[in-house]
């Protein structure tokens, strides 16, 4: 009987009407399924994270004296940390908008009902599965001082550039980042573009709206939640670019490429737990802020589109 009632009213309204014992049983039943995951996440991520927070607040693992924010002050005074943080921000500041805009353009291009569309999609996705190390070899050949890119530029009378050991290194890494990530983002945009109601676009066309008008007034509005998501996703992926930079240039690259990840890896090697822990905590706090922002913004924009 209860089950029928629940079915009629839908899940949400029915839940509070269940008797206490039944709810308790259902809660237990569902928790059992969550158990394995929760135990693992607890042991491998949650508990150790609190240990890290603890480490960031004490003076050293032997004395264990509580020093509150001293480690953070030291961290923010640390030259390498400042360089690393600035470089990471600068890289993300360039690479993330580029990743969002270019992948949207790619998606729009493939939307145009061109021939070989699905093949192109495959090609754009292919970088996902190439081992990064071999790509780095190719990149080194392309951007070496005597490499291909400089040779091509020489044809146009441009001077040689030492790509990996000058201010231009950021561009090289950005290109690698874009190459690796555009396909994934493009798929997200394509799925979203396909969800825009066709009637709306047809009405716009009948009413004589131009392509640009349709794009900015209709498509972009529908795309806005995805744009935000892709932005965050690219931001997170831009933190992962360490692997590429590390393989291209090693532990201590040209100063312009020294990122937070290098800082973490090098600190890790010297086992300076306080520095490491406080850097991890700072990064986590920044990330939580960004993610919370994503949730809030998606909430506001999402309502706009959902009927």
């Amino acid at each position: 009987m209860k089950a029928i009632l629940r079915k009629k009213e839908g899940n949400k309204t029915a839940a509070p009407r269940l008797s206490g014992r039944r709810r308790w049983r259902e809660f237990l039943g569902s928790s059992a399924f969550l158990g394995p995951s929760l135990i693992g996440v607890g042991v491998f991520f949650i508990i150790p994270f609190f240990i890290v927070v603890y480490y960031s607040l004490i003076n050293n693992p032997v004395q264990k004296e509580f020093v509150f924010l001293d480690n953070f002050k030291k961290l923010f005074d640390n030259y390498s940390f400042k360089v690393a943080a600035t470089n990471t921000l600068r890289f993300s500041g360039v690479a993330v908008p580029a990743a969002v805009i270019l992948s949207l353009l790619l998606a729009l291009m493939l939307e145009c009902r061109i021939p070989l569309k699905s093949q192109f999609r495959t090609f754009f996705l292919s970088p996902m599965m190439v081992p990064i190390a071999s790509v780095v070899l190719i990149w080194q050949v392309l951007f070496h001082y005597n490499g291909t890119v400089n040779q091509i530029m020489a044809l146009f009378g441009v001077d040689k550039i030492d790509w990996l050991r000058s201010e231009h290194c950021m561009l090289v890494v950005t290109l690698l980042f874009l190459w690796k990530n555009l396909g994934y983002n493009m798929i997200l945009f394509m799925a979203n573009l396909a969800n825009i109601p066709k009637e709306l676009l047809e009405v716009a066309e009948v009413e004589g709206a131009g392509k640009l008008y349709t794009f900015f007034r209709i498509k972009l509005r529908y795309l806005s939640p995805t744009i935000l998501f892709v932005t965050i996703l690219s931001l997170i992926n831009s933190f992962k670019v360490f692997r590429e930079v590390y393989l291209l240039t090693g532990d201590y690259p040209y100063e312009g490429l020294y990122m937070l990840q290098h800082f973490m890896a090098n600190t890790f090697r010297s086992l300076d737990y306080q520095k490491l822990a406080s850097a991890a905590v700072v990064m986590a706090i920044v990330m939580v802020f960004i993610i919370a922002l994503l949730f809030i913004v998606e909430d506001r924009f999402g309502k706009d589109v959902e009927q």
Binding site: P36, G40, M109, F124, V135, T148, I236, A280, F295
Partner: protein
């Protein structure tokens, strides 16, 4: 009007084709260069990888990017496959690390996602939000806790140190929950009326309903972990246990030719999965498209 549109489409086609070639180039180069003999590699790329000056003289100062080798040679492959067992051993290391991660992660996630889908409570919504945050954390943040806990459990330097954190990674939980929320409630309610218990509903209704989702998530997870470098580098310092992906990234200048061949061999499993399950892969990516269910 018609003509203009055809012209526009042609322009788009050309533009897409240019981009597609640029995207394919590094992959194609890796494959064609793996068929070069060591001497040809040295002649073409010698000056790039001569960072450690070992007294060799290279033929050209300039780097010569080549698409098609002068003579097709399988010597690199022969070295990799038959002459030194090291590479195959490392390939096997990759398999015994990645396959358990994929199976465990998807299995544990299926259970957790079922729990997140059925009976929503405030606590669970909070927990789900927490999982999303965890999923989005950069690896550098979770690395320190991971290291500490592996040390504490005494599994540092064993493959468990890599497998277990991978098995509990929240990515699959997040994706699968989104898939499972699409299963019509009526279906589950009907099964309940027939007296099916939680386990039966899970096994007989939820799992078959999201079979394609399980597949697409498995592909995504596989590709991600197949190319992992940082985790084994830090948690598995014993080089005989490290996967081929780590070895590939530490390859030194003398072995560039081999590196291409190893990369091609290493690419084969993900390539096959990719070509075989591209539709699933795309579906999986599509579902990851927003942080909310």
């Amino acid at each position: 009007m018609r003509k203009k549109r055809t012209f526009g489409r042609a322009a788009m086609f050309v533009l897409s084709a240019v981009f597609a070639i640029l995207f394919l180039l590094p992959t194609v180069l890796t494959i064609t260069n793996s068929f070069m003999s060591q001497s040809e590699i040295n002649a073409n790329y010698g000056s790039v990888f001569s960072g450690v000056s070992d007294g060799k003289t290279y033929i050209a100062e300039d780097v010569n990017l080549k698409f098609i080798p002068d003579t097709v040679s399988f010597s690199q492959y022969i070295t990799v496959l038959f002459k030194s067992p090291d590479y195959l051993l490392k390939f096997w290391n990759s398999v015994i690390l990645v396959v358990p991660i994929v199976l465990l992660q998807v299995g544990i996630a299926a259970l957790a996602a079922y729990s997140f889908t059925r009976y929503k409570t405030k606590f669970k919504s909070f927990l789900f939000f927490f999982y999303v945050i965890l999923m989005l954390m950069p690896y550098q943040v979770t690395l320190v806790p991971n290291y500490l806990v592996s040390d504490w459990l005494g599994i540092l330097n064993t493959s468990w140190a890599v497998i277990l954190p991978g098995a509990f990674a929240p990515f699959s939980v997040f994706l699968l929950t989104k898939f499972m929320r699409r299963i019509p409630t009526a279906l589950i309610e009907a099964a309940k009326l027939d007296g099916a218990g939680e386990w039966t509903i899970f096994r007989r209704i939820c799992l078959p309903q999201c079979r394609s989702a399980l597949y697409s998530i498995a592909i995504l997870v596989f590709i991600d972990y197949w190319n992992m470098v940082e985790q084994p580098l830090i948690l598995l310092q014993d080089s005989t246990k490290q996967p081929l992906s780590v070895y590939l990234s530490t390859i030194n200048s003398g072995e560039v030719g081999i590196a291409f061949a190893v990369a091609v061999i290493y690419m084969i499993p993900s390539l096959l999965l990719f070509l075989h399950g591209e539709e699933y892969l795309v579906e999986g990516i599509t579902y990851s498209g927003s942080v909310k269910g």
